[in-house]
Amino acid sequence: MVDWSTVLYVSIPWATVLSLVVYFIKNPEKAEKWLSILTRSVSYWSQRAERATIATDIQSDIGLFSKTLNKEAGDQILPDGVKIEWERGDLTKEAFLRENLVIVRMNHHKNQARNFLNASLSYVATGFLSNTRFHLDPIVQRSLDLTMVRKILSENKRSTALHLFHEEIYENEREKEPLVHKYYMTIDALDEQGMLNFVLKEFYDLGLVMYHKAPDDNVKKETRDFLDFMDKIATKEPSVDVPLDFKGIVIKIGIVFVARPELARLGNAVPFVNAVLEAIDWGANTVYVVARGPRRATCIEIAQKVGQVFTDTPSVRKVATLKQKLPFYKGSKMSSITIILKSIPHEPTSP
């Protein structure tokens, strides 16, 4: 006869261990976080543990940030985390030059705020929108970099590192170039309105188009114009109309808002489908159908209907749905969705 108490006694611990293993395999950054906590307790006696404490703590938090950002944006905006590789003091000058190294200085883990800041700066300076960087307006690039570093620090609740960032980096940058502050604030407003993802997606796509080309001043200027265009949309009053099409050399987008109560009340997707087709007609590569506003349930439903219309059409295709909680014009946070539609270039037909 089966002794169920013995079966349970044996199987529950094993099931728990197995669940933890699966969880850590699926979330390696969480495993690193725990490893960091464990190694910290012995770091005073072991240099190896001290290095592991510093590295795993940075790797886990930056890894989690990049995973979330890439998932939200739906593109590889940042590399999948960071790996700290330690160089020892016995490295020779010849080896250093031969390998063309760049080595970041890390302090004792007691000064982890500085370490985290340096690792974040390094990660962003080389990994963030890596194909696009040379094609961005320098002010735009610097403002985006600063925003991204600040987001890594703030979303990981690194208050001391954030303080260092503002005091030693941001204030200097702002003093040297006031426009960096202007665009830093613009990007902040876009982020607040859930539109930073649009900018990141467009810049990511720009990198795909421009990757093999020489940097073009007109394209660089376009990236700044694009931020100005987005800023007008993000900061407009609800009843004010602003241009919703951006017709650049590389960046060509249309934005369709499903927000007006008088249209939303009808529950009819046709006017919005027509707006998408109009944008595709003038040559938009991407159309963002944004549902938000006071009648948000109806708006979201309409936007989803628009997405369904373009699930399998020859000229336009739904590529992603972004779901966000956003403030509705200085109010509390509300659900919002954005349907992202891409135009499909026509293949020339053979005679």
Binding site: Q47, E50, R51, I54, A55, G63, P79, D80, G81, V82, K83, I84, E85, W86, E87, R88, G89, D90, L91, T92, K93, F96, L97, E99, N100, L101, V102, I103, V104, R105, M106, N107, H108, N118, A119, L121, S122, Y123, A125, T126, G127, S130, D145, E168, I169, N172, E173, K176
Partner: protein, 80 residues
């Protein structure tokens, strides 16, 4: 799926003096002659943010973000 992580090479403070000596930077540092390779400012040991290779020499960057970023982009391509 290939997971592409960005490599950041680092040196711990405990190894800093030995590294400075091996890279031939301890003497100029002692004489107060070590300068940021990007902005030219004289720097102390505390102000070293990173080491990078430039013009056939090992150089150091100060903690200014502008200098630090310029040094960072000199890194080789990402390694997965």
């Amino acid at each position: 799926m290939v997971i592409k992580k960005q490599i950041v090479r680092a040196v711990h403070d405990a190894d800093l003096d030995e590294l400075l000596a091996n890279l031939g930077l301890l003497e100029p540092l002692g004489k107060g002659e070590l300068k940021c390779g990007l902005c030219g400012k004289s720097i102390t040991k505390e102000e070293i943010a990173c080491f990078y290779a430039g013009e056939g020499e090992v150089k150091v960057s100060c903690t200014s973000v502008e200098c630090f970023e310029k040094a960072m982009v000199k890194r080789k391509s990402l390694r997965g």
